[in-house]
Symmetry: C2
Subunit: 169 residues, 2 copies
Amino acid sequence: MDRSSNHAPVRIRWARSADAATIVRLIRELAVFEKLEDHVRVTEADILRDGFGPQPRFECLLAEVDGVPAGFALFFPNYSTFEGRPGLYLEDIYVVPEARGSGVGRALMARLARIACERGWTRFDLSVLHWNPARAFYERLGFDHGADWLGYRLEGHALARLAEEGGET
Amino acid sequence: MDRSSNHAPVRIRWARSADAATIVRLIRELAVFEKLEDHVRVTEADILRDGFGPQPRFECLLAEVDGVPAGFALFFPNYSTFEGRPGLYLEDIYVVPEARGSGVGRALMARLARIACERGWTRFDLSVLHWNPARAFYERLGFDHGADWLGYRLEGHALARLAEEGGET
């Protein structure tokens, strides 16, 4: 018996439509952690439609310990025009407080890296809040912080206003 | 006759497979502008496969002035788990030097905003190099710089190394 760890084994599996409520719950928990819970509008119907419908917008892994959800990772492809290849963009990763420090996060990240490599996706990208201690974890895994790049976003009324100028294609 | 501008009219249209060589050329010009030309590996075959094959990875608009390519915008959907909706991620936008200042960039951005709104995509995101003067242009259009978020990337050997840890799903 392997006594190098006293943790229960972590199982990583693909999420299914029956997991939609769990995914919404974990997204909400992540938003609370990020102090962004006021921004959460996602519903179970959104997750069913966009994760498990005819036009999937994301893929999702669930981590389980003793059959109980311990975390999730939700991703979709982006595309590098310099590489001429897709990459993996990790939108969300979250480990429940009770399971932290037991290798769940690392198991999820390693599975994601494997998925990227198997598909010929050449990059694994994510965004993280500057105060999030997970930065040190990502750096230990070999992630580089692309400090030269800044993110910009247009949404709400400003998006609608610019859209009014855009003619038909 | 509208004499408010002496610019030739800008036409924005969807790129077609016959534009693949033009797209590669414009990607290379953008990379030179960004001082990243050493990173460009994309080929015409990549653009044909990933833009115009059975599994499109991006969509692309071309801007033309007097029938000559004046710029392009290449995008794909991302996904907000807080919104429960896709967004538009603008990977590349570029206007050739001869056409700058004539409204090509704004016409491309407005068309992109319209596409996002028509599809029910709630955000329009992009990344820009910190020294790029286009930042002022994006800010005039209403874009916000999400200063709280940092981008991280894993690629190359570090990605392959982590992938080795990731078991089968």
